[in-house]
């Protein structure tokens, strides 16, 4: 890949994981590996917004990029396969960020999969209404998937307004929504839409007119989609049409398969030991699931497993010590006379960080 954006993102991520993790863990985050370890790393190091944004990145290509950064002197090799960002690397990153700050709304953790499902619907809805509002009834759907076509057909059937009204409403919702975004994101999203008398523009064409690299156009587009989904989670009532296109996508918390099984039992009112026994799993495995669920679902009964005082204490300690090493945190808390397990520590750190970034 080797784009300016991807190499800067890599520096940014390696800076965050410091020397606690190897680049491999960063690779797992950007490709969206759904293992307990990666999910936890992503949250832990506040890298969850970049989770799953490069699902197709090959490992070899990823390491080529690491090598290149090493050669340029942006990265330095530390012990045990760890890397650190050099002062030169930091300077590069700052310069880039000053010029083109990383898009703020990208949130792969919550929306990577959702936006992949949402975009074809949005595109086809706009494309279809663009034709129908102009009374053009024979046209080729812009998205070829039969699933999406069936979805939009049903969606249209469920609407009560005329096509012109629908198109006008969709326009006003999109216009209001994109207004909130930086111009490059709005232009990237609107540019890739198509309809009657207007084809979609390619990444390369948008890159030329926006004076950005292609990769960055893609990220700006993603930024717009994630922003839309984020806004729809918060204020679905302000955007009824867009919200109806995304409703089922936003409904489900995203968990690994096994964790979702555990979640279901948890919702039935079972506790940790009961779940382990019922599923024939080790306690440790179910604990991993709990940590994952706690970070993802709002209804997790956190305080049944760790008291609010301890949660607060743990967060405080992490801030004071400026460390993410579990053992150091545990020792500090125990030195103050409280008892805390690793499981409780991880639970305490898995939640409530959303807004802090």
């Amino acid at each position: 890949m080797q784009t300016r954006f991807s190499s800067m993102l890599l520096l940014h991520m390696l800076e965050k994981v410091e020397t606690f993790r190897t680049p491999r863990s960063v690779y797992h985050i950007v490709t969206g590996k759904r293992s307990a370890q990666t999910l936890q790393d992503a949250r832990w190091f506040h890298l969850d917004h970049w989770f799953h944004i490069y699902p197709h990145w090959r490992e070899a290509a990823f390491y080529t990029e690491i090598d290149a950064a090493l050669k340029t002197g942006w990265l330095a090799l530390e012990e045990e396969g760890m890397y650190s960002v050099t002062p030169a690397g930091r300077a590069q990153l700052q310069m880039y960020q000053k010029d083109q700050p990383f898009p703020a709304a990208v949130n792969g953790w919550r929306f990577a999969a959702g936006s992949r499902a949402f975009w074809p619907r949005l595109h086809l809805a706009v494309h279809t209404l663009s034709h129908l509002a102009a009374k053009e009834t024979s046209f080729r759907p812009a998205e070829g998937s039969a699933q999406v076509q069936q979805y939009i057909k049903a969606w249209l059937k469920g609407q009560r307004s005329t096509y012109q009204e629908l198109a006008a409403n969709l326009y006003s919702e999109l216009e209001r929504m994109l207004q909130e975004l930086p111009a490059s994101s709005a232009a990237s999203a609107a540019g890739r839409l198509s309809g009657l008398g207007m084809s979609g523009r390619t990444l390369g064409q948008l890159a030329v007119s926006l004076n950005l690299e292609e990769e960055r156009v893609k990220i700006e587009w993603l930024n717009a989609l994630h922003f839309i989904l984020q806004t729809l989670t918060k204020d679905p009532g302000d955007y009824p049409l867009l919200a109806s296109l995304a409703a089922d996508i936003l409904a489900q918390p995203r968990l690994t398969y096994s964790a979702s099984q555990t979640y279901r039992l948890l919702q039935k009112g079972m506790n940790l030991t009961e779940i382990s026994a019922h599923r024939g799993l080790k306690n440790g495995t179910v604990e991993d699931h709990f940590v994952e669920i706690a970070g993802e679902a709002d209804d997790f009964p956190l305080y049944e497993y760790v008291s609010p005082q301890i949660v607060e204490h743990v967060r405080q300690t992490v801030n004071d010590l400026e460390t993410k090493k579990l053992r150091a945190v545990k020792e500090a808390i125990e030195a103050s006379g409280q008892v805390v397990s690793y499981f409780q520590l991880r639970l305490a750190l898995s939640t409530g960080e959303e807004m802090k970034r």
Binding site: V126, L129, S130, A133, A134, E136, S138, F139, R140, P141, G144, S145, A146, Q147, Q150, Q164, A167, A168, L170, Y171, L174, E175, L178, A183, A186, A187, A189, A190, G191, R192, L193, S194, G195, L196, G197, M198, S199, G200, R201, T202, L203, G204, Q205, S209
Partner: protein
């Protein structure tokens, strides 16, 4: 009572009359006869199976190697409310396949890629359907003599037997007599099969060839042509990077809407370029051979080859995209000394080193492995996709697989024998391909009538009487034409959204925004 052919033509496609020759083929298909039809690109090929499929009882299978083309045709049919058409290929998810096959009983046309048709589950499914006929598009892919040989096509003859051998319609735009013979045998066509041959002579395309000193002069010449003559124009080049670089320079140098297109672009981008081209939003597309198949744009004014193609068949097919509406158009090939090295190097890259066969055959973990696994492993040892497909197919032909498609364990001498034979075969094939490249070069440097020379390759003669519209050596001049000039469109994002969703804004605008 069944609808007459003319009624069907009118009702489904909105045409009043058949083009010359179409009706005879369609009648043959309706009568369940095996047919081979050779007709030039733009000759209305798809109608030959679409209409009979819609008028017949049962399901027609259309086999095509071009996924984009199949998707395209299905979308087009569906856009005109013929929903009984569906396309399946390996690029689709399980779920998507299920949705598409949901109502198989009511389908009339099922487009399949050859590998999809060779899937056992697909064969089981189709065995229970009443098949009206099977159309094999791009049938020249079946022949090793053809320029686009596809090993999976070779299995078709066998697969058809599984379904009780329904009638077959084989279609191709380019087929020399040797290729026709191969198609005939490979598809096990019946004794009484008909062959419909159409002239490949596209009389409204004037033929030009130009030699230049070097790359730099060639580029200047290309830009001059693009600047002065009518548009839209397709420019064929050999490499992806060259397509991008040339498009960038052309956009800088000329005030034209220019884009590039190649197989390495992301699928949405490729679709966008096609759509823009069809909607007259582009003047010039600089592309590799990946562009063009299935794109039916009637008004392409010229096809320019910036690099020479690898063989005459490809050349015929690519220039056939000019002038489909019947209007005067042109085909130009530019040549600089040494240009033949490009297709030559590319051709060498298609063949695997023969030793790869040894590595595969002696890999104990592959003994008993399925064909597809062996192919995957071939890529694992560093072969390209094309090379891997080639070597595995050759092993298959050399009898290295059981009838269940599992790889045999061969003795040392047997392995060496296979490797030696493969090596000989590759040498022979290389020589053939080198000869094809030489043939193209000879065409470019030829000083007699270009049309005669091209058609001679297909054992044909031209019917064209008028030398002034034939070729440069017959003293034809470039067809005159009006330039379509449009403003470059660079709307704000708000402007785009308005044009997309507010039809009133659209029609109130000065100049309007016509329906294409």
């Amino acid at each position: 009572m069944r609808m007459s052919l003319e009624e069907g033509l009118h009702r489904f496609f909105g045409f009043e009359n058949f083009r010359p020759g179409q009706k005879a083929i369609i009648e043959d298909v309706m009568h369940g006869r095996d047919c081979l039809a050779v007709l030039p690109t733009g000759g209305g090929k798809s109608l030959l199976y679409q209409l009979p499929a819609l008028l017949s009882d049962g399901l027609a299978i259309i086999v095509s190697p071009l996924i984009a083309l199949m998707e395209d045709q299905v979308q087009e049919l569906r856009a005109f409310r013929m929903k009984q058409a569906v396309c399946l290929h390996s690029g689709l998810s399980q779920q998507e396949r299920k949705v598409r096959l949901h109502a198989i009983e009511s389908l009339k046309l099922l487009y399949l890629s050859p590998e999809m048709l060779s899937q056992p589950w697909m064969q089981r499914l189709l065995k229970h359907q009443k098949l009206s006929f099977v159309a094999v598009d791009e049938a020249h892919c079946i022949s090793q003599w053809g320029h686009e040989f596809r090993p999976d096509y070779q299995m078709l003859g066998h697969v058809l037997e599984v379904f009780g051998r329904p009638p077959v319609l084989a279609l191709t735009a380019t087929a020399t007599p040797a290729v026709r013979e191969d198609i005939y045998t490979a598809l096990r066509m019946k004794e009484n099969a008909r062959i419909h041959l159409f002239s490949l002579d596209r009389t409204n395309i004037r033929l030009f060839g130009e030699s230049v000193m070097d790359e730099k002069e060639k580029q200047t010449r290309l830009f001059t042509i693009l600047h002065h003559f009518q548009r839209p124009v397709l420019v064929y080049v050999m490499s992806r990077s060259r397509a991008e670089a040339l498009a960038e320079r052309a956009a800088e140098a000329l005030n034209l809407r220019t884009a590039y297109y190649h197989g390495g672009m992301d699928a949405a981008d490729r679709q966008n370029i096609q759509a823009q081209f069809l909607a007259d939003e582009l003047d010039v597309v600089i592309c590799t051979s990946a562009f063009g198949m299935g794109i039916n744009k009637p008004d392409v004014a010229a096809v320019i080859h910036y690099h020479m193609p690898s063989n005459i068949e490809s050349y015929m097919q690519e220039i056939g995209r000019a002038g489909r509406s019947g209007k005067d158009s042109a085909a130009v090939v530019l040549y600089a000394p040494g240009d033949e090295n490009l297709p030559h190097d590319m051709m060498l890259g298609e063949f695997p080193p023969p030793a790869a066969a040894r590595m595969l055959l002696e890999d104990t973990s592959l003994h008993g492995a399925l064909l597809t696994e062996v192919e995957k492993q071939a890529q694992g040892i560093g072969l390209s996709e094309v090379q891997a497909r080639y070597v595995v197919y050759q092993l298959f032909k050399a009898g290295c697989f059981h009838s269940t498609n599992e790889m045999k364990q061969l003795s040392r001498p047997a392995v060496e024998n296979v490797v030696r034979e493969l090596s000989d075969r590759i040498m022979k094939r290389r020589k053939e391909k080198e000869a094809q490249i030489e043939e193209v070069k000879a065409y470019i440097l030829f000083t007699g009538c270009r049309r005669q020379k091209l058609l001679a390759h297909f054992n044909e003669e031209t019917v064209l009487q008028d030398a002034s519209i034939c070729c440069d050596h017959c003293l034809a001049v470039w067809p005159p034409g009006s330039e379509k000039v449009r403003d470059r469109e660079d709307l704000s994002w708000q402007g785009r959204l308005q044009k997309l969703l507010l039809p009133d804004k659209r029609s109130n605008e000065k100049g309007g925004f016509g329906h294409e």
